[in-house]
């Protein structure tokens, strides 16, 4: 278990137990921000770079505040400045170029970039975003970063021998960025690696990349890893070797069918458990989310449990996203109170010894 979770406990936290509440990162953009973007991209509109920057700043402030109002212990700006999780970074890293949209499915496309030369660190990717968000809130800020394996896998690789070599080169850049974020005050970093779910046999590459990412990062900086929509049995227990404090996992969407995967062997890291489904546009009740949180207690003791949605909330209607967060926080506080009162008695199974 990780020792760096308690720094995020609010001073006025009312329960003895503390289930850290957080979000994965993305959040629905206010409609006016999309309108502002259209104006910015319209050559005939009187809407310049400064106007666009101001719109993004305003949106970041609004969503950070929305996270605060929902009662989250750690907040994000909802990734208001980012368009897509690979594109945003590829535009900031030397070595990438864009050649046009490619199909994902049906008429859903993305600007899959090509790595055409050695990747190099140029301008900072997220330090300004972090500083702005931190100045807009008194709560701790979590910083999501797309991981090097996903940045490598979801691009065309023209320049490196294989995707592993590209992922390692990118991991060194991510390490450099995290050092800058830490210097700026960040204490909670989440590496997003959705590509691992599609190619689980590559978990060793992700592990090696993470070793590079955390090199020389102080212990008090909390590092999480988010993986979603895959067959977890193909990466567990191998991922327990990864040098991270916390695994942020999507489990509500599959109605906790995969929960048993994590029962044996013992889950030794912190578990950031998805307790609401981001693909269902109805807000789960507080009671439902309390039940979901208790699923997590079948895997880890309360000290190791973090409460989170399954994945980024950006595809939901905004009021639904807010409702889910609000109920999620309330559910976490209720479970904490129940734990304090000794009303929760969940037996965690003792993992089978290897020689049994």
């Amino acid at each position: 278990m990780s020792e760096n979770k308690d720094q995020f406990r609010p001073e006025d936290h009312e329960n003895d137990h503390f289930l850290l509440t957080s979000v994965v990162g993305s959040y629905p953009k206010p409609k006016w921000l999309n309108r502002a973007k259209e104006l910015y991209e319209d050559d005939e509109a009187d809407f310049d770079e400064d106007n666009w920057q101001e719109a993004k700043d305003d949106a970041a402030r609004v969503i950070t505040n929305e996270h605060e109002r929902a009662g989250l212990d750690t907040v994000v700006d909802g990734e208001m400045r980012r368009n897509e999780m690979v594109e945003f970074f590829a535009h900031r890293i030397d070595g990438y170029e864009f050649n046009g949209p490619v199909k994902v499915w049906g008429h859903n496309y993305f600007d899959k970039p090509s790595v055409v030369s050695e990747v190099e660190y140029d301008e900072s990717w997220l330090v300004d975003e972090y500083k702005y968000t931190a100045s807009a809130t008194s709560r701790p800020v979590k910083v999501p970063i797309t991981g090097p394996y996903t940045l490598a896998s979801w691009a065309f690789n023209e320049a490196y021998e294989d995707d592993a070599d590209l992922a390692y080169a990118l991991a060194d850049l991510v390490n450099e960025e995290i050092e800058k974020l830490v210097d700026a005050g960040a204490r909670y970093i989440q590496i997003d690696e959705p590509a691992l779910a599609t190619t689980p046999d590559d978990h060793a590459i992700v592990g090696e990349a993470l070793e590079r990412i955390v090199a020389d990062i102080p212990e008090e900086v909390r590092i999480g890893l988010h993986v979603c929509y895959g067959d977890y049995s193909r990466i567990y227990p191998e991922i327990l070797e990864f040098p991270v404090d916390e695994f942020d996992l999507e489990l509500a969407n599959g109605d906790y069918e995969q929960l048993d995967v994590f029962k044996d062997p013992e889950f030794t890291a912190d578990l950031a458990l998805g307790v609401c489904d981001v693909h269902v546009a109805e807000v789960e009740s507080v009671e439902q989310m309390e039940a979901n949180i208790k699923k997590g207690l079948e895997i880890v003791p309360p000290e190791q449990l973090v409460v989170s949605p399954d994945c980024g909330l950006k595809l939901l209607p905004r009021e639904v996203a807010y409702g889910k967060m609000e109920n999620m926080v309330q559910a976490a506080r209720n479970v904490e109170a129940d734990l304090d009162a000794g009303n929760i008695d969940i037996e965690r199974e003792t993992p089978t010894p290897a020689d049994d």
């Binding site: 949209p101 499915w105 008429h107 896998s153 065309f156």
Partner: protein, 333 residues
Amino acid sequence: MTEYVSTTPGLYPLPDWAKDDLSHLKGHQKHDLISGDEGEEITAVYEEARDEVIGVQEDAGLDRIVEGQLRWDDMLAHPLAVADAVETRGIVRYYDNNNFYREPVVTDDLAATGDIASELEAAADLTDGTLQAVLPGPYSLADLATDEHYGDEADFLAAIADFLADEADAFHDVETLFLLEPSLVENAPADGHDERASEAIDQVAGAVDADVVVHPYWGALEEKVYAHLLDADIDAVGFDFVSNQDDNLYNIQEYGATDDIALGLADGQNTLVEDPEAIRDRVEWVEGQLPTADFETVYLTTNTETFYLPYAKYVEKLEVLAEAADLAEVTPA
């Protein structure tokens, strides 16, 4: 003397303007995808886009012209997605790619639709070039689909083979047919089923008056699967030399080959554009590795479909293939 024929396995990317127009006309959700009865406006966009990709092939100088399969929203599962006895359900992953298609579930007796024959007729009206048809191989199409009607793996494969044979029977004036069989590599048939896969391919191949190329990709076939495939009455087997050189060579050296051969030498999934000379050299190298290398026809192709690529890169890949075939033709192997 060997003839070098530049071609592609089809399934092209839409031109960017057509991506935009069709997004607006059709929408982004799974119920918005092609069902075979699209209206005039959507049909008009596809016609214009078809004309454009046929022009791209003609300008590049490809020796075989494909229709482009721009309507195949569900990629190789398309022929089932537009068939009557099929429900399209959730979005499922397309092999190991970051691409998805609607799961086709067969719920009743399958019957051919003529959908692909009519695409080919539309293409024939647009070009004087030599036409090539493209179909999923029966094994791959059965693998991509779910059966809730026939009940038995062998019966289902036989039904899919009948279905594809009937579709192919309606093709006219087609010089070549590419049967794409990635599932033979990605989800290789077990003992017994490998022989049935070969028989199913034989049946589809026999339904059309054209040279038939069976093209597996994303690796090499298992030895037994390859040996059984050679029993089918087909003109050529394709080899994906981009993703696996050694095992493909081994198969040819160990079990021999058909009289014609298709070589997947340009990467259909990477924007790095190969040099035509380098491809010509790879052709010579492959031929040099084989005991007898006097093929009647060598097809030069991308290893996979090209819809993975940005449009401009896809155009460049076609140009490279055409040029490489011209170079191979003038260089004695």
